[in-house]
């Protein structure tokens, strides 16, 4: 029997305009935990989708236990014993845990075609017990926490006799303690003989669990190593293709008066007592682990949601913001985290996206003037060095980085004082990242106050003047970037303020 339970050879997958996987290889040994690393857009999710049958490769082959396998649909993949667990659990919130586990392969009495509830609930309790979870499987899935839902997903994989489990950023939404539980469960699965592909941005996850690591970069396979044979730096070089010290462009901004002040901002269930301030010309980083509440705070400042208590003051005047339109009018701009859903109208041309927040400025005698719009769009897009042929190109044809630039262009059509950027380099290729950093520096030098939400410590340290660290909805530290270290930031993000 082959020592490799899963192999992909020469796999290529192309979409219109973009090659998502370029002649890649991957092999998973029986009973190992294998880490898959790579930046956003390196091809990891496409690989997973090919393995789970969501996409069919344009070229190459997949081998299971050494034999060629035809995986055309998710069902095929399940039949081969492959299961995937994602960071966002898709489930049926109105159905019980048991049903979510057994959907598609319910235990049915052969004679009466009746579902055997007793056996299913019993088996579900069994599975949950194996994972050290003891909540009632009759509960509706929708009322569980994220960590519990993940556990149900794992139980589901177990019930389908999965031999290959793929975990895609499973620790992202979890707390420290929940991550520990997940590590334990993962190791227990491996000990039972399940082969696991583990994808995570967190190097500590990888070092804790995996025995081998594969790196993808720019849709290509870079290499596979035993974790004991390779250093952290070498892995990072493999991922980014150059030396670790990411070049963060220097900035010459004059830091001026306080422009935005947040005091005691609270929203029940999301964050509490958040206070900080931003000055003109300053880049303030807002960091913490996923789930700390940073985006929620920004959305409350911007008016997308409303805070239950606290105040936001802009240039000395308190804001009673009733929505993003009010925020924009006062001079607060926001680059949302989900570029595609929140930031752009993908079906629209570039110029329509750019002028959307400030349509009033592009009218002549009340009528919208396309010439004015396209002139402005051209001006901003060129200044930001957007790679596009024409302002009439659809936003959907642009790469991630260029889409980001268009959203920034959007913000610049209004008179801004504060700009909030939520994970501005997420899903952006390396070249575009530098461009975005340069843009941020330009904005700071022009006198804007900038809030940058980021989970990447190097980025935070490289670009900001001060850092606000949040954990579980509260501010745990506000530090001068020049005087702090990655360890101190991580501490504040993980452990929080003293006494909690």
């Amino acid at each position: 029997m082959s020592e490799h339970v899963l192999e992909l050879k020469h796999v290529t997958k192309t979409f219109p305009g973009v090659r998502a996987l370029d002649n890649v290889h991957f092999s998973l040994r029986r009973g190992e935990i294998h880490a898959l690393m790579g930046e956003n857009g390196a091809g990891k999710s496409t690989l997973i989708k090919v393995i789970t049958g969501v996409y069919q490769p344009d070229a190459g082959e997949i081998l299971i236990d050494g034999e060629p396998a035809e995986i055309r649909t998710p069902l095929d993949s399940q039949r081969y014993g492959i299961a995937a667990i994602y960071q966002h659990v898709t489930c049926y919130p109105d159905l019980s845990v048991t049903e979510n586990i057994f959907i598609g392969h319910e235990k049915i009495n052969r004679l009466t075609r009746k579902i055997d509830w007793r056996e299913m609930h019993g088996r579900a309790e069994d599975l949950l017990g194996q994972l050290d979870a003891d909540f009632d499987p009759r509960t509706s899935m929708g009322s569980l926490s994220v960590a519990q839902q993940q556990i149900v997903e794992i139980a589901k994989a177990l019930s389908a006799n999965a031999r290959i489990i793929i975990m895609d950023e499973p620790t992202a939404p979890l707390t420290n303690r929940e991550s520990e539980d997940l590590y334990r469960i993962t190791e227990a699965l491996r000990d039972k003989g399940v082969s696991i592909i583990f994808i995570s941005h967190r190097l500590e996850d990888m070092y804790r669990l995996a025995s081998r690591v594969t790196v993808f970069r720019d849709s290509r396979y870079v290499g596979t190593w035993n974790l004991s044979d390779v250093s952290r730096d070498q892995i990072i070089v493999a991922m980014v293709g150059r030396e670790i010290t990411q070049f963060f462009p220097k900035r010459n901004a004059v830091i001026g008066e306080e422009v935005l002040r947040v005091e005691g901002l609270s929203r029940v269930g999301y964050f509490k007592d958040v206070s900080f301030s931003v000055r003109r010309g300053e880049i303030l980083a807002l960091t913490g682990l996923v789930g700390a509440g940073r985006t929620e705070v920004c959305e409350a400042i911007y008016g997308v949601t409303s805070a239950d208590a606290g105040s936001v003051t802009l240039d000395g005047t308190e804001l009673g913001i009733s929505g993003p339109s009010g925020a924009i009018a006062r001079g607060i701009g926001y680059l949302p985290e989900d570029r595609l859903k929140q930031g752009l109208v993908l079906d629209w041309e570039i110029f329509k996206n750019v002028t959307y927040p400030t349509l009033g400025r592009f009218t002549k005698f009340g009528w919208l003037n396309t010439k004015l719009e396209s002139d402005a769009a051209k001006e901003h897009a060129e200044r930001l060095e957007v790679k596009a042929q024409s302002v009439f190109d659809k936003a959907s044809t642009l790469s991630g980085g260029n889409q980001q630039k268009i959203i920034v262009a959007k913000l610049l059509t209004a008179d801004m004082r504060v700009i909030i950027l939520d994970e501005p380099t997420k899903g952006v290729d390396v070249g575009a990242k530098t461009a975005i950093f340069n843009i941020m520096n330009d904005l700071a030098e022009s006198g804007f106050g900038i809030i940058m939400v980021s989970s990447e410590m190097p980025e935070v340290l490289g670009m900001s003047d001060r850092v606000v660290v949040m954990k579980e909805g509260r501010v745990t530290a506000i530090l001068e970037t020049a005087k702090t270290t990655q360890e101190e930031l991580l501490n504040a993000a993980l452990l929080g303020a003293a006494g909690r």
Partner: protein, 344 residues
């Protein structure tokens, strides 16, 4: 000097110009008239083209705002009931002594309020789709009409009132003039103002629109309120033409209005379509029903045709544009997502 120059030239292609849906509609319009003239010998005359619209243009006033509603990604099936209610209120109040001009204003006021209520409900209860909200108000508005007038008719309007439905100015029927003006206004707003741009944007991506600072709540309320107002216009022209009104008037108007809008190339998934399409579709369906009526095809059969047209149009548009439907304005409450942490 920028490294890369971005063009502001728009490429023109004859092929793309003529492949538009609206040319197909022109073709269908011609076919309809050919069919009609073969059915009735005296059909093809100027007089036909001027007088026939008097019988079907009343519903056209609903099509104009319905275009906005559907581009927005919503639907409004309460329009027929709004017509009925406002007509009934007008007739009853007139016959109770209110001067006719005031009764007319009251009709418009009631209709506008019905639309406003729809809009407010949509904005206050974003979890609900426009289907269920306008379904409920459809029942309620007509229900009120029945409570007021039961199964009676009410009318006996003053002579001058019939000029809405029957009169003309310099040979052109009043209704055509009024409709033309309204269509022009709606067309200009949709295609040339920021308001229209926002409608398209919201229909395409409601969330991004909100993040871009568009006042989505206000726009929804305005669109539904204007729909109500236009239903008031329909009520005026309809009751003027008929000379009286009952609570069951305008039954099926929502079907025909939506059919006309969708036939006009406005996709139910939102964000697409142009006003000229539904306007053409008004005349297509209008002249078709008129022509078939001339050869005594009963109304119920005409409804079969309208119903089929509706379904087939949506089907064809789906195939052409894809059928990604907008969910209700706010997604159903999802289980904890995005790393939202539970209590511990």
């Amino acid at each position: 000097m920028p490294e890369r120059v971005i063009s502001i030239e728009r490429k023109w292609s004859w092929k793309r110009f003529f492949l538009q849906w609206e040319w197909l509609l022109v073709l269908i319009f011609i076919v309809v008239n050919i069919v009609n003239s073969s059915l009735s010998p005296y059909y093809l005359s100027l007089s036909t083209f001027l007088t026939a619209p008097m019988s079907f243009l009343d519903i056209a006033f609903l099509v104009l705002p319905m275009t906005f509603v559907i581009i927005l990604g919503n639907i409004d099936i309460s329009v027929g009931s709004t017509v009925a209610l406002s007509a009934v209120v007008m007739a009853v109040s007139f016959n109770a002594g209110l001067p006719m001009p005031l009764a007319v204003l009251l009709c418009l006021a009631v209709a506008t309020t019905c639309g406003l209520l729809n809009g407010v409900l949509m904005v206050a209860f974003k979890e609900l789709s426009s289907v269920i909200i306008t379904l409920a108000t459809m029942i309620i508005y007509r229900g009120v009409a029945y409570v007021i007038l039961q199964d009676q008719a009410s009318g006996k309007f003053p002579k001058w009132y019939s000029t809405f439905g029957w009169g003309n100015v310099a040979g052109i029927p009043v209704i055509i003039i009024v409709f033309a003006i309204c269509a022009l206004i709606f067309g200009l707003v949709l295609h040339m103002t920021s308001f229209g741009r926002k409608i398209y944007g919201m229909g395409n991506n409601l969330i991004a629109s909100r993040y871009s600072g568009i006042k989505t709540n206000s726009i929804v309320i305005i669109v539904f309120t204007v729909t109500g107002l236009m239903a008031g216009f329909t009520a005026l022209f309809l009751s003027s033409r008929m000379g009286s009104t009952r609570p069951n008037v305008a039954q099926g108007y929502e079907l025909t209005a939506i059919a006309m809008t969708v036939l006009g190339g406005v996709s139910t998934s939102g964000g697409k379509g142009r006003l000229i399409g539904p306007v053409l579709a008004v005349f297509i369906i209008g002249f078709l029903t008129y022509g078939l009526g001339l050869v005594n095809i009963p109304a119920q059969v005409l409804l079969i045709i309208t119903g089929l047209l509706l379904v087939v149009s949506v089907l064809v548009l789906n195939v052409r544009f894809g059928s990604r439907h907008q969910r209700p304005v706010v997604a159903r409450a999802q289980p904890a997502q995005k790393g939202e942490r539970p209590d511990e």
